[in-house]
Symmetry: C2
Amino acid sequence: MVTLKQLAKELNVSISTVSKALNNSEEIGEDTVKRVKELAELYRYKPNKVALSLKQNKTKTIGVIIPDILNHFLAKVLFGIEREATKHGYNIITCISNESLDKEKESLQLLANGSVDGFILSVAEETQTKNEVEHFKRTINHGLPIVMFDRVAHDVMCDKVIVDDFDATYNATKYLIEKENRKKIAFISNIDQLSIGKLRERGYAKAILENTNYEPLILKINKNKDAQQKIKSFFKKHKPIDGVISADSASGIIAINTSAKFGLNVPKDISVIGFASKSASNLSLPRLTTIRQHAKVIGANAAQMLIERMQNTSREGDVKTKIVKTSFVKNKSTLK
Amino acid sequence: MVTLKQLAKELNVSISTVSKALNNSEEIGEDTVKRVKELAELYRYKPNKVALSLKQNKTKTIGVIIPDILNHFLAKVLFGIEREATKHGYNIITCISNESLDKEKESLQLLANGSVDGFILSVAEETQTKNEVEHFKRTINHGLPIVMFDRVAHDVMCDKVIVDDFDATYNATKYLIEKENRKKIAFISNIDQLSIGKLRERGYAKAILENTNYEPLILKINKNKDAQQKIKSFFKKHKPIDGVISADSASGIIAINTSAKFGLNVPKDISVIGFASKSASNLSLPRLTTIRQHAKVIGANAAQMLIERMQNTSREGDVKTKIVKTSFVKNKSTLK
DNA sequence: CTGAAAGCGCTAACAA
DNA sequence: TTGTTAGCGCTTTCAG
């Protein structure tokens, strides 16, 4: 990589002249500017990012800490973040916490040494279980803003982007009860430990308790266990289930596939609604009626909020929470 | 963030003393070291990464350019890269090319300004279609090593990590012909434009041509089109298909689900084998028999190769290609 | 119109 | 044992 110094030497001018010429300063003579620019072009000169960062004390880089990159929703949010960040001239450094508190702390520390100007993150499962937040607060106190999305820590004062998990699940459940006249609706989840899993469960439970005379019927699946088997025996035990709300996409799809094995026609005998993306909902036959989360929008919003905060160093304290509403997308796993 | 300067001032010593003390230099007196370390601890001093990078002319950062983060395989490779990089003290900056040549070029340029020490990438679709490689060569000539994985540009001299796409598909096809005695095996793909898609198709075709007396039977699905519909009409038109090899996971799963709609029993009447990850193969009932790609291993290997190359600045020219073999995982969508 | 110099935070050769 | 200085690549103020 060429440096200003080398250009200056070759042109027999000073470093500052070259710098100014390239930055279109008014001070420099027309022909000098031209000479400088031509040589710079020739050598494909690019100002060294590291030097710039040091000088200006900002890196134009965002640290993103994701619990699980194999989670389609989280990957999609990352996509949204990346696109928005790029649009504003920011790069992103990605760390994967792998749902571990220690790795999350470590990533935060590691990048808080001047590598990034701020963070976007979704809280790791272990962190939520143990309810630790000190590392977040410390980071913010050190002057690095954080924006949390989806799984957020409520007792940390920072900007947040969340989903209407509770309402969406409540409404979906009520839909099955009222519009489809379902009599025994179950809730299936493999994310019951997460804040969002709990919200979804509560939304379901509230709708059941308010509108029916039976108790909520809930199946919690450990992520590493055999979901197909679990769902099969659950269906058998609680026959006749005629509606399913799933908190995650895998459970919803497996529920549809399993129904067929039981001789149940979806949606005639049983309706299934689940949180899922479009690509996931296409994997079942009939297609899964879904609660769609607009992951890219969430990512873009988070990036916008962070960038805005990083630019307005002034007014602090007034943290915002943005709710990105889900959409209900009717496919063929429900009636009508 | 505290700086050495501030610590030095508070301790009434020089900056270099503080620096040396923190770096356990032999030169500094025991008690000075202690005093310094205590204050540093108190203020949670972390050496500024940017200043270090500038000084040492390396960033300990890897640029990763991925065509599509929503592709489960690519996300998994990214996971492998991140883990290996972190293990060696490297960060990763992620760019998503979105299968676009321009975005790929742009990302390469943008990060080649001192932001990263090298690149790991998988070639964008458009780049493969147009067969452009100049931007890769230029980057390498500028002193930034590249490691390509999965979709590679063969005419670029650089380290590569690839999969045995051809052999794996050839063997899987042969397996259906010989071991399962299938008489009409189709190939379904939504990635026919990609180098790896072509390799898989050729592996299938070779097995068919060598071992049967019919022509290869191939369905190419445009990614944005209705795969369910396409597969349905394909099945109808070419009845009786009794075997499917799918180049991507979605096609395989949809093929299984579609078979049921045709009254075909999987695997009794029709066998399906597809490239897929474990989590994807769990989404069909019966589970998809898969060609597993070990994405994380691919990522880890790529990271290792790059890190090694960045450290041995000396010997160049001798580029390596590593093949990470697939595994054949028998599930219930094939006989026996 | 051009150049010299300081400084961002750090390390390391050299001086004291 | 500690301090001074130069320099990584860049911008920017101030002198010329």
